[in-house]
Symmetry: C2
Subunit: 129 residues, 2 copies
DNA sequence: TTCTGTGCAAATCTTTTGCATGGCA
DNA sequence: TGCCATGCAAAAGATTTGCACAGAA
């Protein structure tokens, strides 16, 4: 696995503290909103600006280093991984990565080749039950 | 099929001109954003206020009369129908309803009973090809 | 008549932008 | 050193709210 620095290098983005902090935060949390990333990083890095997070999330998305998970009421972000589906808890809002089954991938790939596919399951997670 | 008035009556929402206009607009367009609904209705109904659309979309969603389709960069809304998936054109942003296949529904229903399932396919529509 | 819904304007949030300065390569 | 990235503050955009009045039941 590449380091975050290598990932950034290979995308022609400079490996700034701010970018590495954002990627570490997403790596640690799995999924986080702009505001959550900001609040968390600010603890150890008080000069971090919200505008910097917006700008970086935008460029990291352009380079496909991070992906947006479109949930209500706010989008969250994750480090781009293999395609997978998301289980979203209607109560606490936590997002859990789940597998696309092969059968589903095959069927969708046949019908909609090369398209981006997003599957969301909204239910109640084990903790909230 | 119920009329929109009956739908509103049975949800204890008054059948105002504004609400009927919103539902007619969604019925006509299939999918529309807040701004699109507003711009379109204002043509024939200049006193229609944007705040009224926000308030009504919110109450219509609460009553599950309309559903939100979470697309980028703006959400769109549709009249609630049978569960279905969405094909979203990456170029023009048009949304097309597509069927969930029985195989997919069965598999997901077995794994995640009674959950709300959303599937989005992002690709390029016939017009834009 | 009653009470919910509307329209307006202000308030609040969210996101973007411009620009001077800082810091990675 | 050369540029890209950052931080700040202001601007722009999106959404919500409060309140007096209008209109559906």
């Amino acid at each position: 696995m590449q380091t975050f620095k290598e990932l950034l290098d290979s995308s022609a983005l400079k490996a700034t503290h701010q970018r590495l902090a954002i990627l570490n935060e997403l790596d640690k949390k799995g999924h986080a909103s702009i505001e959550e990333i900001y609040e968390s990083i600010k603890q150890n890095f008080p000069s971090m600006s919200l505008a910097t997070i917006y700008k970086n999330i935008s460029s990291l998305k352009d380079k496909q280093i991070v992906s947006e998970v479109c949930t209500h009421p706010k989008s969250k972000f994750e480090i781009t991984k293999e395609p997978h589906a998301h289980f979203i808890c209607k109560i606490c809002g936590e997002i859990e990565d789940i597998e696309f089954s092969d059968a589903i991938i095959d069927e969708l790939e046949k019908k909609y080749p090369k398209s981006k596919k997003e599957l969301y399951i909204y239910s109640i997670c084990d903790k909230c039950k």
